[in-house]
Symmetry: C2
Subunit: 227 residues, 2 copies
């Protein structure tokens, strides 16, 4: 039998590909999704459905209220930027930045991994997608690993939890092609920051634009249902 | 005016002393308490009352459900160990260990500090109190700091959030004497892992025993109301 893995899973293009990768290795996979008061909370529901369809061992939703702090257009009532050019997205840290988001997500995953006695945490961070988020960089992940190795009982006793970032240095096109090979149904994944009430993608936010571009570059018809 | 500080505050002996220390420096203090499904949730209520009495700028309670993972006698329905000898407490990591607790707490504090534009996070970890928790050691705190410096926008832009651990290397006696100098009313602090319904301390859990011993060593009458 494979080892146990916790996969941080939003149901989006990146983390769904990562989930398929963990499964392809034969791991027993436990998905963890966050309901953090995000505007696009439809993703939480969809993630649960998709995880089950993909046959994970268990799926958990952690409710965390990042709205008590504020500070991001994903959790506040700020306008989500629409139809920005790739160069605009690339300049600096975007408004959709959520303070310490990956640090909080990885911390929860670390707690969960220790309780499960899991050997791996998978996270779909990507350093090349123009996002500009500081907590998607390789040096950040490395520093989190070093900290994690000192933080938990399991690691201190010699059984570390390894953080796996299989798509860290892949382009969106490479991610999509890898996922298709593993049988990922991207029509069921959800990336939009600002979906309509039925959960259909807006087609104009940074996440939708990058996703569209990725399917174009991959030469694959975009299966996303748009509003 | 002083700088802004986030103080991780449980209302216990250690974090109340740390709060008084941050205030004595002239900082504008924002306390953050966690309701994490702990058995001793009376501490959450008391912490709020005490923070207000001590005149903090703002007090927030973050609700996080660590029970979804399980794995600790503080969040599960395990028996809390009673009347253990100090040597027993010192041997290994205790049952009251909560996986990745300080990592989760510090991650939230980091998010909050970034939104507030605070320069400091205070945490009342103590390496000398026989607790055996891996996430109370200096090397852990140092690794968290390194990670934090790479994690958040503010730090990447050159304004780091500094993690302050003023009681890290102090004995319980030294902590109490320092707190009394700063006017801390220890009768209002709460340390017990297993209080009765009225919130009175059990007198027998590790936390109560260490607290009693501390007042004895400090030569100060123990002001704790016991059940």
């Amino acid at each position: 039998m494979g080892k146990k893995s916790v996969v941080l899973f939003s149901g989006g293009l990146d983390s769904t590909t990562v989930l398929a990768m963990a499964q392809s290795r034969g791991d027993e996979v436990y998905t963890l999704t966050f309901d953090y008061g995000q505007r696009h909370s439809v993703e939480v529901e969809r993630a649960g459905r998709l995880a089950k369809e993909m046959g994970v061992k268990n799926h958990k939703v952690a409710h965390i209220d990042l709205r008590i702090f504020g500070g991001s257009s994903l959790t506040d009532d700020l306008e989500v930027a629409k139809h920005r050019k790739t160069e605009e997205m690339a300049s600096g840290i975007p408004l959709t930045y959520v303070p310490a988001r990956n640090t909080i997500f990885l911390s929860y995953a670390l707690a969960y991994a220790e309780v499960l006695e899991a050997d791996f945490i998978y996270i779909g961070v990507n350093a090349l997608d123009y996002s500009g988020y500081p907590d998607c960089r390789p040096e950040y992940i490395q520093a989190f690993q070093t900290m994690a190795d000192l933080a938990i009982k399991r690691a201190v006793e010699g059984r570390r939890v390894q953080i796996e970032t299989p798509i860290l240095m892949m382009s969106k096109k490479e991610i999509i092609l890898a996922g298709l090979k593993l049988g990922v149904d991207y029509g069921k994944t959800h990336s939009c920051y600002d979906p309509d009430p039925e959960g259909r993608a807006c087609g104009g936010c940074d996440s939708c634009l990058l996703r569209k571009k990725a399917f174009e570059e991959a030469g694959i018809p975009d299966p996303t249902p748009y509003a």
